[in-house]
């Protein structure tokens, strides 16, 4: 099964886990307590998020702490930003084309 950041964000529970953990590492039990779904279900979501590279698990004593690595989400962000940049530059080019054209005609008069 393909694991990527797009799959990670496609599930509402995973999105909640991501926002819960952003900048606030927690251990597995603490995360599970905040959801109505079963602990194995949460473990599965955490595993998927780990496979997507959005969460890393670090052992501290007997507890396993989950940290987010939101760098991966940049992929999603950059992807739409690329289009935004592309269209902005195209509209700038359209403006240059039209106003340059206008200038030419004015100078002929």
């Amino acid at each position: 099964m393909r694991r990527d950041v797009f799959q990670a964000i496609a599930d509402p529970t995973r999105r909640r886990i991501i926002s819960l953990l952003a900048g606030n590492p927690q251990h597995l039990n603490a995360i599970a307590e905040q959801f109505d779904v079963s602990r194995p279900a949460i473990s599965k979501h955490i595993r998927i998020l780990t496979e997507c590279g959005l969460i890393t698990i670090k052992k501290q004593g007997r507890e396993r702490f989950c940290h987010t690595d939101l760098h991966q989400l940049r992929e999603v962000h950059e992807w739409t930003e690329k289009y935004r940049t592309f269209w902005t530059s195209k509209l700038d080019a359209l403006e240059n084309f039209l106003t340059k054209d206008q200038g030419k005609k004015k100078s002929k008069h």
Partner: protein, 143 residues
């Protein structure tokens, strides 16, 4: 429900008729947009062109969907060999002697249609949340 589109508005200091010609006439489009073999502002007209970044170019395939002469044109926008079919539209509104150009690019959720693991509705919701709020706050707050 669609994923959040990209919408860009720009006021251009040119009358609406001139802007319309610039976005629908092949010879004018060539000078600021893409060099197309042929272009017709007619629903159903299909065109292809190569474009992209300096490092990688993509063959684009487009089909005109809607035309309101002098006001609006929209066409599909997809890439050769890639899933997904997005929609690009240009809408013109006069503002005195100037023209407001509204560019909308929507349908980004369709780029993942090749992945059967994704539930579309949920993906779109996640996409909007991530793109529209959390990521925006996260990255812009960090800067």
């Amino acid at each position: 429900m669609d994923s959040q589109p990209i919408i860009i508005e720009k006021t251009i200091n040119a009358p609406i008729e001139k802007v319309w010609t610039a976005i629908t006439n092949r010879d004018e489009m060539k000078q600021w947009y893409f060099d197309l073999k042929e272009f017709k502002a007619e629903p159903g007209f299909e065109f292809s062109f190569t474009g992209g970044t300096e490092t990688k170019t993509y063959l684009h395939h487009c089909k005109v969907m809607e035309v309101i002469p002098g006001k609006k044109i929209s066409y599909t926008w997809r890439y050769e060999g890639e899933p997904g079919d997005t929609l690009v539209s240009f809408e013109l509104t006069p503002d005195g002697n100037k023209t407001v150009v509204k560019l909308t690019h929507s349908g980004f959720e369709t780029f993942t249609s090749g992945n059967p693991d994704l539930d579309k509705k949920n993906f779109v919701q996640g996409w909007n949340e991530i793109i529209g709020t959390s990521l925006k706050n996260y990255f812009e707050g960090k800067k």
